[in-house]
Amino acid sequence: MMERKKDWIADALSELDDKYIDEAVEYVKPKKSFKYIKQISVLAACLLLFVGVGVAVRMGVGGNKTASMEASPGVAKPKEETSAAAAAPMETEAAAELEAAPEATEDAGLEEEQGMSQVTTTENSSVILDTMESQLKAYPNELDEEVLYDMYVCAHGSVVSGQKVWDVFYESVNAGENAQVEIMEYTVEGDPIITSIHYENDRFYIVVDSSRDTFGGNEKYTSYVYDYWKVIDEPQEDGFVLRTVHFANAPLDVFDSEEDIVGYVREQSENSGMEIRTILYVFIEN
């Protein structure tokens, strides 16, 4: 009887209106430990002053070329070893369990290695991109060690930290598993630029967060969708270090080698009057 009563009470409590549950949840106080965060923020700020400069390049191809480059006037040469960067997979156990769940997302289809496919920014894409933007906005203005720990951090064309994060991301993408990574680079002035890459259903969603770039333009968050990816690990003699190249509907015959890509980037660089010493990665979109 006692067990029955207990069940009865438990069942009755389960029937209570959602508003009481919500009210109780809202009473949860945020985490404390501001003091600690402030201390490591100071350390991070000091770090930012001394780390090198990375360069991100995004280009348009095929009659709609637009280049947005950040050049480094520094003298740092890229390191010989250039294999991967870092990534933070967002896969949780729950997500893994749901791997077999039905998916209604449109399938752009990552075609053959040299194939091309049409990129369309659908409503679903914008939801994902909005989510990524929200995630980026949730980061504190001064990035502390806790945040940086999960990122692939680069400077002077070499990896500062997060190699393993990148490796996990890279492996996940190659295995066709959903994954996400945040890459952080620094501008010439030492301002951090975060690029978030989310891979899902054979498609790459990219949001670049320039909100901390005090010398940047008005556009703080820019989004891209790609469905082709090629990683180039070879270092370049003239200082270009290309790690990942993402194509979307790009004429691949133009870029069938690393040299071609480097040449194209250099051309863009000269045209824009900027000197580029290191390039961490290149995104090429249609």
């Binding site: 009481y20 156990e93 939801v127």
Partner: protein, 184 residues
């Protein structure tokens, strides 16, 4: 992230929805399940089942508030798991909190026509008569099965104060139920 955005992700059938939901609510859901099950493995299983349940429920549902929706799923799954466990788990947080509440709730008899929904309706009315803080206190203790210490930390009270307040609330509840025709 706002709940509406998370729901949109579910509607978009993006697995990112699960990740975002988990990052926002996993701590809370873990607590709900663990307070009932008192076992990490069972708790994690319940959380995974919760995410799957939410995935299957949204769409078509568009719950508002989302927090209560997922908490309820977790709690129901945890209760189911708890009951299916053959080895009775005594003295866990769930048992302790319910045993506290038992003396002020009538014992259901074969003749009694009260069902859990009716009791819930009356408890709901009772909660409306409480201050917001006492309501939260009641819910944290008897719905979430939080410990006195956890509630004290949450509401910035001393443990002793929480215990006394809960005792008063239980007495009030008992009187209220009697007034509503529930013979305790």
């Amino acid at each position: 992230m706002e709940d509406t955005k998370i729901i949109e992700l579910f509607f978009a059938r993006s697995e990112m929805a699960i990740n975002v939901l988990a990052s926002k609510y996993e701590k809370l859901l873990y607590r709900v399940a663990f307070n009932i099950l008192n076992n990490r493995e069972d708790t994690m299983e319940c959380l995974n089942d919760t995410y799957l349940g939410v995935w299957n429920a949204i769409p078509p549902h568009r719950p508002n508030p989302l927090s209560a929706f997922v908490c309820k799923i977790t709690r129901n799954l945890s209760l189911k798991k708890y009951r299916s466990n053959t080895a009775a788990k005594r003295n866990n947080a769930f048992d302790v909190s319910l045993e506290e509440l038992e003396p002020c709730i009538p014992t259901p008899s074969a003749e009694s026509e009260w069902d859990a929904k009716e009791l819930a309706r009356v408890i709901g009315q009772f909660l409306e008569s409480l201050s917001a803080e006492n309501r939260v206190l009641f819910m944290r203790r008897y719905w979430f099965s939080d410990s006195i210490e956890d509630i004290a930390n949450l509401l910035h009270m001393r443990g002793n104060t929480v215990a006394v307040r809960l005792n008063r609330i239980r007495e009030q509840l008992k009187k209220y139920l009697e007034k509503e025709g529930f013979c305790v």
